[in-house]
């Protein structure tokens, strides 16, 4: 589903080349002047969940449990024209990414009963201030604007994983896994990307970022029971300085005005 929506969004982005794309905009937009802008896009990255491993009858959690986070980002800022095709942008940006997945273990093909269930909610949100240096190449149809951006900010993640298995008689018996993980980060980011700008000032952007997240606080509550053992506990850690490196990707569109 998400893939289809992503594909649809990409097609919309390509549609920007059409002359009649969108009915608003100002044909008087001038590339070589300073502008305000607003951006809306989608951000994606893979993220490691640092939660206790588990080996259940119908669900496992590995040591390096990964989730794919995807969600919107919104930015607002100003582009200041310097000289020739060179410009400088300052922006504030917020984002919210998540992966909400579930797994239903039906008893059998002809017994529609949820014997096992997995709910996995992973999310992260944050905000950052960013500055970028841009250079605009003007073509006959659109403007191509490569840019390099640096950003700093904060982020918080929230993860809630639940697994239950009702059990059968005489075996396997019922089991469960629950983990709630909250983490706070300081973020730093170096981004490379480019904008494709139409004559109306509407643009698509494509970018990849190398992000470093410094884990500052971590709170974990967990409990689990499998076929042979059980455990529970909580962790509340502060003043951490663990660095985590990830690569993120984003596409979206914006409007210069």
């Amino acid at each position: 589903m998400k893939f289809l929506i992503g594909l649809l969004l990409s097609l919309f982005s390509l549609n920007i080349f059409a002359n009649d794309f969108m009915e608003f905009g100002n044909e008087e937009y001038l590339a070589k002047e300073s502008n305000w802008f607003i951006e809306l896009g989608a951000k994606y990255y893979r993220w490691d969940l640092d939660i206790p491993p588990y080996n259940g009858v119908h669900h496992d959690i590995g040591n390096d449990e990964k989730v794919s986070l995807l969600g919107p980002e919104l930015a607002f800022g100003a582009e200041i024209h310097l000289f020739a095709g060179l410009s400088f942008s300052l922006k504030g940006r917020g984002f919210y990414v998540s992966e909400i997945t579930g797994e239903l273990g039906k008893a059998s093909e002809d017994f529609d009963y949820d014997l096992a269930k997995v709910d996995s909610d992973a999310s992260m949100y944050g905000g950052e201030g960013a500055a970028s240096l841009n250079y605009t190449f003007v073509t006959s149809l659109v403007e191509i604007q490569p840019f390099a951006e640096v950003a700093v900010g904060t982020a918080q993640s929230y993860n809630n994983i639940k697994y239950t298995f009702e059990g059968l008689s005489p075996s396997p018996t019922a089991e469960f896994y629950k983990a709630k993980l909250t983490e706070k980060f300081i973020t730093r980011k170096l981004t490379l990307g480019f904008n494709v700008i139409s004559k109306y000032g509407i643009y698509s952007y494509f970018k990849a970022s190398a992000e470093t997240l410094t884990l500052k606080e971590r709170k974990l509550n967990y409990s689990w029971e499998d076929q042979s053992s059980s455990d529970s506990g909580s962790v509340d850690e502060k003043d951490l300085n663990k660095e985590i490196s990830i690569t993120t990707y984003a596409i979206g569109f914006g409007y210069l005005f």
Binding site: K2, M22, F24, A42, T101, K106, S108, D110, Y113, S169
Partner: protein, 280 residues
């Protein structure tokens, strides 16, 4: 502007998408699942409620009903085949009830024990919660169950292929908390189909129903009077019958039978063979 709105909507839907994957954990014939299925079935409220029918004190002495059997061929109109009076004529809580059936010339007193009532409930409970036995639908007060019997007219050479000619007999019953368990027999329907090469060549539907009967109204004497003379002046013939729970406790859905009337949980025996005339 509509296009912009659509894009924003699509972006927002990215975060609201919940991907739920379904998988089947066990083989459908796993005995542990059969036991679980039965246990979950028994958790349905109706299976506690239906035990109320074993409390005979809930029923009203001399409460009377009109039993009506109609038949319909194909999509034709209903014609009435029989109308009898059904009266709760004795209640001995915890032991037995007597249900009297008034036909034009005869009265049948059916002694119906607590054990019979409990057995009917058990059979229906086990049969409707067992896999591939009775088909069932339930409400808060009713278990509707049915089964199909076949009378083979011309056998198939391949056991996995339907016979070229057979009669199919589908009986639908209702067990309702508002009526004694024995009354399942007076409510429901029978559908008889003649099947030839997979096509139905004729269908006859019989419907059994009960409605309240006012025995204070002398017009209903022909249904309510249990002693003395019939309306034509001749003495009513009285028969005392006992009920016997069928030895075939649970019918499989596709049981092959020569005698469709065995599709009843209760037989009326034996003080006299006349008791069998109240069977359908």
């Amino acid at each position: 502007m509509q296009k912009l709105s659509l894009i924003i909507l699509l972006l927002l839907s990215l975060v609201s998408c919940r991907e739920v994957e379904e998988k089947f954990l066990y083989d459908k014939d796993d005995p542990r699942l059969l036991e679980l299925e039965r246990a979950k079935c028994l958790e349905e409220k109706i299976y506690d409620e239906i035990k109320l029918v074993n409390d005979f004190s809930r029923y009203t002495l001399n409460k009377s009903y009109l039993f009506k059997r109609t038949s319909k061929i194909g999509t034709g109109t209903d014609s009435t085949e029989a109308q009898w009076g059904v009266v709760i004529s004795a209640i001995n809580p915890g032991v037995s009830m007597t249900v009297s059936i008034r036909k034009p010339q005869e009265v049948y007193h059916l002694t119906y024990s607590l054990a019979d009532s409990e057995a009917i409930v058990d059979i229906v409970t086990n049969g409707t919660c067992a896999k591939d036995k009775y088909k069932k639908t339930v409400t808060e007060t009713t278990i509707k169950f049915s089964h199909v019997l076949r009378r083979i007219i011309e056998a198939s050479t391949d056991p996995d292929v339907d016979p070229p000619r057979y009669d199919e007999y589908t009986r639908n019953f209702y067990l309702n908390t508002e009526f004694p368990a024995l009354f399942y027999y007076f409510k429901g329907s029978i559908v008889e189909k003649k099947i030839q090469n997979g096509n139905s060549t004729s269908t006859t539907t019989y419907t059994h129903s009960l409605s309240d009967l006012d025995c204070t109204n002398s017009d209903n004497n022909k249904y309510c009077r249990l002693t003395g003379n019939a309306e034509n002046g001749t003495a009513l013939e009285i028969y005392n019958c006992t009920t016997v729970i069928s030895s075939s406790t649970i019918y499989t859905l596709e049981n092959i039978s020569d005698n469709a009337s065995e599709a009843s949980l209760v037989k009326f025996t034996p003080s006299t063979d006349k008791c069998n005339t109240i069977l359908f």
